[in-house]
């Protein structure tokens, strides 16, 4: 698969490999972890990895985690022969808890990059919408856009509080901010920033969004209303990440679709709703 810019969808190395943590930074309730990946190709924005720790994977709530966890990369940098992959996490359960506990030099097992990634359409003015931890692939996409000549994205970020928003600042994202508690930026939901821009219809837009299901659904329906195409980076519970288990399906107009291989980025117009059962937390 290649996107509109001709970027080939990178193929993952077969199997999983060890990747050591090189940095760990807290951003309010979020944690960014950088790992060194000496075995994989450069991923495209929206792709994700399946991660687990080498030590002590298990033994948390009800003995979990057992399966690896899906995480979008937020930033990728070349380092020598390998890559530095940056992940942004929220501790919402035993798996993310264990991963956010890692320290520099601790090791993970990673597989990937998996999934399709965003199909960047450089002919249209990109609008990037991030909600909460959904910031991760939006950072990666903005990085890709910045590498292009003459294209700049409008970026809207929605966060619960100012504290959460510190993650967006960390990545140096030029964005407009909405916080739910009004502690920074506009008070309210990020879609309240998006709606007026789309109503104005000043340009040919494509919306790229990642965030919690209710936000994605709001984005989808606003875009549908304005007949603007949108690409939604979605979530669902995943066991494998490479199409083996059929566990991650979401309902689309084409029936149940495996989000790990046919997503995680789906066109908004393929969906009746982005409110997927069992996704989000």
């Amino acid at each position: 698969m290649s996107d509109a810019l001709g970027i080939e969808r990178p193929q993952a190395p077969f199997g999983r490999r060890v990747a050591a943590v090189t940095a760990r930074i807290e951003h309010g309730p979020y944690v960014s972890l950088t790992v060194r990946d000496s075995g994989g190709p450069r991923p495209i924005a929206g792709q994700f990895y399946m991660l687990q720790t080498v030590e002590d994977w298990g033994g948390g709530v009800d003995g979990r985690p057992y399966l690896p966890r899906a995480l979008s990369f937020a930033r990728v940098e070349q380092e020598g022969d390998g890559l530095l992959l940056d992940f942004l996490l929220e501790d919402v359960g035993p798996g993310t808890h264990r991963i956010t506990e890692l320290a520099v030099n601790d090791e993970m097992l990673i597989a990937g990059p998996f999934g399709n990634g965003f199909e960047l359409n450089a002919a249209s003015w990109p609008i990037l919408v991030a909600g909460g931890i959904g910031l991760a692939p939006i950072v990666a996409l903005d990085d890709e856009i910045r590498d292009l000549d003459g294209v700049r994205a409008t970026i809207f970020v929605g966060m619960r509080t100012n504290e959460h928003a510190s993650a967006a600042a960390h990545y140096g994202l030029e964005h407009e901010l909405a916080t739910e508690d009004g502690s920074s930026g506009v008070r309210g939901y990020v879609t309240e920033l998006l709606a007026p821009l789309l109503s104005a219809k000043n340009a040919d837009h494509v919306v790229y969004a990642c965030g919690p299901p209710p936000m994605l659904e709001a984005v989808r329906s606003i875009c549908a209303e304005h007949e603007i195409s949108c690409q939604l980076a979605m979530e669902s519970g995943m066991a494998c990440g490479f199409g083996a288990c059929f566990g991650c399906v979401v309902p689309t107009h084409d029936g149940y679709t495996r989000l790990c291989v046919d997503g995680p980025v789906l066109d908004g117009d393929k969906l009746d709703t982005a409110l997927v059962a069992g996704a989000g937390h």
Binding site: F14, Y66, P68, A239, P251, A277
Partner: protein, 292 residues
């Protein structure tokens, strides 16, 4: 080399049906996947006569030592499987075992007939034990049903037939013996164990289908016990599976009486688990594996 159902296999490690989509994996992993193909034979996801969408999500629930799935056998139906997938499977570097399931004996008869002429197929696994479709696991847990079913099916296939049994029985030995007496060429077990989970704080079952099947290390002792019991009763070879994570687990199933070992849920944690487990097994057993 290991002889199993008239096939020669390079090692005793294959996959559990429904736990590895080789066609999807080829797209995701590319050439490296074909070069290091993880199993000595490849078992397809279970196919039904008609297409199935599978169960509504959520389909997964994680356990401390495994998971519950309620996938529900999504598949494109036999006709499209034969047209679209069989030719692709034929290019994989491993013999193909096709898993099938039917809701009525006539369906299975039709399927066997349609598959019989296909040289791409080394053997057929009869899934008598899916907990995720209504009536799925009755045949595989009842000696009378399983003998009746095998007796009806046997004449319609010249392929080697592997009966995959359900673990929901106190007498897997009797179920296996019944299948053997009616002409099964091999037994495979265990399929997932029926189970259910509630979301934290919720009074509704988590899984879209209400309940599902447990797999992974949580069911390993059940698998070991049932394989041992069946092995003490039947003479046909056994494909043992259930919670195999490493060579040690595979060796234990072989000690319990299995000829082949299938890896299921561990594939999700390690896409190359098959290769790893085969080489761990070789290290534990050395040449002895070959002569099991």
């Amino acid at each position: 080399m290991i002889a199993f159902c008239g096939i020669e296999l390079s090692n005793p490690v294959i996959n559990g049906s429904g736990t590895f989509d080789a066609l999807a994996a080829r797209r995701v992993f590319g050439e490296a996947f074909e070069r290091d193909f993880p199993f000595s034979a490849y078992v397809s996801k279970t196919i039904t006569l008609e297409p199935r969408a599978g169960n509504p999500p959520p389909r997964l629930w994680e356990l401390g030592q495994g998971m519950i799935n309620s996938i529900g056998l999504p598949n494109k139906g036999l006709a499209r499987f034969i047209d679209e997938d069989l030719p692709e499977y034929a290019t994989l570097p491993a013999p193909l075992i096709v898993s099938i399931m039917g809701f009525k004996p006539e369906e299975l008869v039709t399927m066997l007939q349609l598959l019989d002429g296909r040289d791409e197929i080394a053997a057929i696994e009869l899934n008598f034990s899916c907990p995720n479709v209504k009536t799925g696991n009755i045949v595989g847990s009842d000696p009378v049903e399983s003998e009746a079913m095998m007796t009806e099916l046997r004449p319609h296939s010249t392929k080697q037939l592997i009966a995959k049994l359900a673990p929901s029985t106190s007498r897997p030995d009797l179920v296996a013996a019944a299948a053997e007496s009616a002409g099964a060429d091999a037994i495979s077990l265990i399929n997932t164990l029926p189970g259910m989970a509630f979301a934290p704080g919720s009074k509704e079952p988590w899984l879209g289908a209400g309940s599902g099947g447990i797999s992974g290390p949580a069911i390993r002792p059940v698998a070991l016990g049932q394989v041992a019991r069946v092995a003490s009763t039947v003479r046909i070879p056994i494909v043992g599976m259930g919670g195999v994570e490493n060579g040690r687990d595979a060796a234990a199933l072989i000690d319990a009486g299995a000829t082949l070992v299938a890896v299921g849920t561990e594939n999700f944690r390690d896409p190359a688990a098959g290769n790893r487990i085969a080489s761990e097994l070789l290290q534990i057993r050395g040449d002895r594996v070959a002569t099991v």
